[in-house]
Amino acid sequence: MRNVLPILTVVLALFALWYGGAVMLNKNWAYDKAQRAGVELSFGEMVKDTMTQEKPRLPPPHQVGAELWKTTGAMVQRGRAFSKRSLIYHGWITLSSTVLGFVFGTGLGILLAIGIVHNRAMDKSVMPWIIASQTIPILAIAPMIVVVLASAQVDDLIAKGVISMYLSFFPVVVGMVKGLRSPDHMQMDQMRTWNASRGQTFWKLRLPASAPYLFASLKVGIAASLIGAVVAELSLSQDGGLGARMLVGSYYGQTVQIWSALIAAATLAALMVASIGLLQRVTLKRMGMAQ
């Protein structure tokens, strides 16, 4: 409970900043309208106008909140949670390709890490390419991947998953290489004195030792995977998804819609990272490694 006050203070400060920003960014449009109508705006009237514009430059929190409620809770109340206008529907689409890409990315990351740790040639040859792969802007490469996969008649969901995978395998490789190498010299010598095979050393020492590293990577990986999914939806917007909502919003200047999709994506990311955190706590506790 001691933490409530500082947390609330930060939240309040953020809202104050947001409202302040909304007034600053939207006031020009308010004055423009007033000038054209030939009326003089007092400061209070100006502030009031910036809070209620239809297409504000920066929508204030309550507008975004109202839009969020309209496209989630209100939809559920009317039994239309999966209507195409619902953020739950779009969130679900984003979630599916995020999770698909994350699962494949994690699998690929772990396999690459195992190869890199056990094979010197792979360590020298593959690692630089993995790092190079992440220096390419995903926005540039995503449409190309989509086009190539579409021409190969690959399902859209998989095409989006591939982009998520492209972003999420990297933190897993880096974390797992470090984790699988975390056993020290003494522990490796000890395995040698027991004449343990490489497989035994892997299953009984390297893999369990890497667990804490894996979970740290998974948290970064799933957030990256969500970004991949949103970026992929910009190229495959016909299927919907939070990315598609942002794109459509930007076409029509619907800033409120963009912001509510943004908040929905952030919430989704927070929920996913939290569930990995939970999985981490449970697993490490069962392994006797809880901090």
Binding site: D189, R192, T193, W194, N195, A196, G288
Partner: protein, 259 residues
Amino acid sequence: MNDTVISAKNLSLTFETNDGPVHALKDINLDIAKGEFVSFIGPSGCGKTTFLRCMADLETPTGGEITVNGVTPREARKSRAYGYVFQAAGLYPWRTIGGNIRLPLEIMGYSKEDQAKRVQQVLELVELDGFDRKFPWQLSGGMQQRASIARALAFDADILLMDEPFGALDEIVRDHLNEQLLALWARTEKTIGFVTHSIPEAVYLSTKIVVMSPRPGRIADVIDSTLPKERPLEIRDTPEFIEIAHRVRDGLREGHADG
């Protein structure tokens, strides 16, 4: 009692470093008989740990010969001829004490019932019965080191190699563990190689004390202990004990003077 378990002839090991070759071991000749308790003592850099690691096939000598149970260290390691205790207990935090002791047994393919039986046996041997379900962090440093000794005893190795196993523990715990180790040695009749920094520890435990000196690492003196096999802690105050300790100290000083 007189068959040789470990035999080194003109054993040398030179590390090639950027600053030129380092002679970790030079012309080491030593025979260790079955059932002996041999301590290796000397200042750091004298090669005592390196010598032990050569016996365990953790280092490869660059000259001379060494046999363990009449075969090369590599063959001895592959036939799991020895248990090795490191300076740190090195217990896996994700395994219970019982699970840690079971680890080498799992690797060596003992049956489940046999594993359970052996874990129970060695836990009693190091006086840790009842702790098999505890995790390492729930035990004190001394208890952890006892568990790591239990782990090295769990499989049928006739040789126990110990690299400063009590180096990180305080004096009181150390005395207690030394007493226990002697009792354990008497009961199991294993051949023990023991690296230490401490003169009293070496004299108290050993039937044979190998004094080593650095640059190049070599044997300065080999002292056969005249102490009886039955050794209460008070034996450390007898003139006989003090005389042996004196000879060890002389050996260390000599090695240092021309080093």
